[in-house]
């Protein structure tokens, strides 16, 4: 893939790089760019550094907004995919190539729409990379309804499969070493989903499975970014993340089938003092309920080919509940996801169709999560998610049996 690059200061080497992937982020990218520059100046002043915006040729002026941001002398590089080529993963591919050219030792990536980033985020995501860690995932407080794909799918599945507790496997903000960039460049399971929003779970899953020392870094502040109602249209993100999770299950089946339970992942940056709480996220429960109901009715025949009789019956009963009382028990949700993974693996039908029919159930699970945690504090909801993960771990033998047969 050809790429367009602007490197006005002619940077040829950088020990530490901050990468900011983007598409149409002209309104927001200046702030994380400025904070990244402050972080590099404050905590990595004895090293060479650069900030790279990896963009998808945004038509809204993202490039200008990035290039005009005041970075206090820290050089900026703009890289873009060719016109018409989109995808967060493609931006990362460009970033991997560039950081290898620059012989970077540490790379920190932050989202272009971040409103809560501080210079300390750059320190906490970057510093462990100079202490033998090669991958750093973020650890921040998010509102209980922010990150529902993470809470109901990515975290429970990655944790029970690979035995690593990485709370934000698709957080979007993380650090990786130059060595890890080489691993990513060499690794083959790269496809169209990874070149889009599947990139985050792909990177985390590879780090979990390639013998890479990894840790989580406390960010101190919550993740505050463009708010998104989990009841609204999912867009392509859900499909790309779930496809990637299921693809990687096949690639690493030898590893995950032998793993029992899970272990905590090392933590960097303890003791940041008082933890700030995130702003509320609104949820359209009616929208979730309608999407679940409509999808369940139109796909019930397909579900009967994916699930056991027992699971189908239980879901059928749940579909009769009214909106305020709709709850999907955690063991049932674990079996639903495991059955979908097996069906995807066996290619029982077109894999795009499999993901498509999972979406209404995901809406149902999201509504169930909202109903169950409505009266809970963020911390209590966090405990609920931990319990959900324990259920996934306990139910894993069911997945192993089904996968083998």
């Amino acid at each position: 893939m050809e790429r367009h690059e602007e490197n006005p200061k002619g940077v040829t080497k950088a020990d530490v790089v901050v990468g900011i992937p983007s598409y149409n982020e002209a309104a927001t990218i200046a702030y994380p760019t400025q904070q990244a520059a402050l972080g590099l100046k404050q905590y990595f002043s004895n090293m060479t550094s650069a900030i790279i915006n990896c963009d998808n040729n945004s038509p809204d002026g993202t490039q200008d907004a990035f290039m005009n941001a005041d970075t206090h002398g820290i050089p900026k590089i703009y890289i873009s995919t060719p016109k018409g080529v989109r995808g967060k993963g493609n931006n990362f591919r460009n970033l991997f190539k560039k950081v290898l050219d620059l012989k970077a030792k540490a790379i920190v990536v932050v989202d272009a729409d971040l409103k809560s980033i501080t210079p300390r985020w750059i320190k906490n995501l970057g510093e462990p990379l100079f202490s033998d860690f090669h991958y750093v995932a973020p650890l921040y407080v998010r509102h209980k309804y922010d990150g529902t794909i993470t809470n109901n799918i990515a975290y429970p599945l990655s944790r029970c499969l690979y035995g690593r507790r990485v709370r934000q496997p698709i957080g979007g903000d993380f650090g990786f070493s130059g060595t890890m960039a080489e691993v990513y460049m060499k690794n083959n399971p790269w496809n169209e989903n990874v070149s889009e929003f599947g990139i985050d779970i792909w990177m985390t899953t590879l780090a979990m499975n390639e013998g890479i020392p990894m840790c989580q870094a406390f960010m101190g502040r919550p993740k505050i970014h463009k708010p998104k109602d989990p009841g609204a249209d999912l867009g392509p993100m859900f499909r790309e993340v779930v496809n990637t999770i299921f693809d990687l299950m096949a690639a690493y089946s030898d590893k995950w089938m032998s793993i029992k339970w899970s272990k905590p992942t090392a933590i960097f940056g303890f003791g940041l003092g008082e933890i700030e709480m995130p702003p509320p996220v609104e949820v359209n429960k009616e929208g979730l309920y309608k999407r679940f109901q409509d999808g369940f009715k139109s796909n019930s025949e397909i579900y009967s080919t994916i699930f056991s009789m027992e699971t189908s019956q239980k879901l059928g009963e749940i579909a009769t509940l009214d909106m305020e009382h709709l709850e999907i028990p955690s063991p049932l949700w674990a079996k639903v996801l495991f059955d979908f993974a097996v069906s995807y693996h066996r290619k029982d039908m077109d894999i795009h169709k499999i993901i498509e029919v999972l979406i209404p159930l995901y809406y149902g699970m999201t509504l169930s999560f909202v109903n169950k945690t409505e009266g809970m504090s963020i911390q209590q909801a966090e405990e609920f998610i931990e319990d959900l993960c324990s259920v996934f771990e306990q139910t894993k033998p069911y997945l192993v049996d089904r996968w083998k047969t």
Partner: protein
């Protein structure tokens, strides 16, 4: 035989846990606080640590951090009379969190799980 190090400032809890876990076939070592925990671990070489949180001299969550700075993979189970510490982000560095109870079934299960957990990833 797996060895369990129990760190708790209440003697009757140490005695109860010690008897129950010995009956389960574990070798047990006892400590009445978390001071010099690293020296203690080096001496006892436990396979799993049961750690109280609210102790007279030390806070178990701080002790947990100290352990994690040196022994990343050593299973540590927080065992507290208070469920409230579970929401402290520091507690996620533990393998498990168990609220103290006269019924030790959950604690025993968690010990078994922690010893059984297999994660072939180097640290």
């Amino acid at each position: 035989m797996a060895k369990v190090l129990i760190v708790d400032d209440e003697e009757h809890i140490r005695i109860l846990l010690c008897q129950e876990l010995e009956d389960e076939g574990y070798e047990v070592a006892l400590a009445d606080d978390g001071i010099d925990i690293i020296d203690r671990i080096e001496k006892e070489k436990p396979d799993v640590v049961i750690l109280d949180i609210k102790m007279a001299e030390t806070n178990g969550l701080d002790v947990l951090q100290e352990i994690r700075n040196t022994y990343y993979n050593l299973p540590v189970i927080l065992c507290s009379a208070y469920g409230s510490y579970k929401v402290d982000l520091k507690s996620i560095a533990a393998d498990a969190y168990v609220v103290k109870s006269s019924d030790l079934t959950e604690l025993k299960n968690r010990i078994a799980q922690a010893l059984e957990a297999t994660v072939p990833v180097k640290e």
